[in-house]
């Protein structure tokens, strides 16, 4: 299984993701600097969380035009798998690989907490097929701009195509089912072909052993199972 993690100036979850991937696959993924123009054939590209280019202009907007993105667009056009987490999700929407936009959290606060997620039973996501739809997942979020927005027509299309993968269910203390104002409680969506997954929660921070939860393992494991076959 060939996995590459794309690193931008300001990425800060790249190494955590590398450790998480290695712990599940036994192989250390390649870290690819954003200035690289080409990608060797890979099974999965991961765009990690962080603050690429200092979140200048809009989160992910400048990273979406980095040299490596041409190679990622080619990879996507060949039906390749991509996972974007947090800032990685923002980069995927800014580059047009996923629909919608991730705006300022409704309460204008950076939110960092454990959150409960439900898996959409009707999802067409090709990467999370082995996830149990009846089970909830405990995975933390940590973002200032995770408020998912799309116009009514796009939102309808995303829903009817089964592109919603995860929704916020409640936080650990069950105070709110929606931490950031996201439309339809959306926490993760995928592309029409189901191969590109963008999610605000950080699975690499829910790997057990010192973490509050090990549910990130389940999510990453399902992705690795999907790209193996």
């Amino acid at each position: 299984m060939r996995i590459a993690i794309i690193v931008f100036p300001g990425s800060n979850c790249d190494r955590d993701m590398m450790v998480a991937v290695e712990s599940l696959t036994g192989r250390r993924p390649a870290l690819i600097w954003h200035k690289q123009n080409n990608l060797d054939p890979i099974d999965l590209a991961i765009i990690p969380g962080g603050f690429s280019f200092g979140d200048y202009l809009r989160c992910g907007a400048l990273a979406a035009h980095s040299p490596i993105m041409n190679a990622l667009h080619d990879h996507a056009a060949r039906g390749g798998a991509i996972l974007g987490v947090c800032n990685g999700f923002q980069i995927l929407t800014e580059s047009g690989m996923l629909p919608g936009f991730l705006g300022r959290n409704q309460e204008l606060k950076f939110i960092c907490k454990q959150i409960t997620l439900s898996v959409n039973g009707a999802t067409n996501c090709a990467l999370t097929g082995s996830l149990d739809h009846k089970q909830t997942l405990q995975i933390p979020i940590a973002h200032n701009e995770g408020n998912f927005f799309a116009d009514a027509e796009t939102l309808n299309r995303i829903e009817s195509n089964g592109q919603v993968v995860l929704r916020y269910k409640s936080d650990k203390y069950a105070t709110s089912s929606n931490p950031n104002g996201s439309l339809n409680n959306i926490a993760a969506i995928c592309s029409l072909n189901g191969k590109i997954l963008g999610m605000m929660p950080h699975p690499e921070r829910a790997m057990g052993k010192g973490h509050e939860s090990a549910d990130g393992r389940k999510l990453l494991h399902s992705i690795f199972e999907a790209i193996k076959t």
Binding site: F101, G103, R104, L108
Partner: protein
């Protein structure tokens, strides 16, 4: 030529920052306030003397990077005195 681009949220897009500012102004007694929008202004200098050309290039830049059409709209103003 100096080009001034103003980028604002499209009507109907939730703008929690503008809402918060509106609330604050209200609580300061500015009760005649009808609406608040928060946007950004980007000033560019484009190498041309042709206003239409400057506007055209600035619009291209907005579409390529400066504005996100999902949530934002932009206005372009050319500064004739520059």
């Amino acid at each position: 030529m100096q080009v001034i681009i103003t980028i604002n949220k499209k009507p109907g897009v939730l703008d929690p920052e503008a809402q918060a500012i509106k609330q604050s102004l209200f609580s300061l007694g500015f009760d005649d306030l009808e609406n608040v929008t928060v946007g950004k202004q980007i000033t560019l200098f484009i190498e041309t003397e042709d206003q239409e050309r400057a506007k055209y290039r600035a619009a291209k830049m907005c579409e390529a990077l400066l504005a996100n059409a999902v949530i934002e709209e932009y206005k372009i103003r050319v500064n004739e005195l520059s």
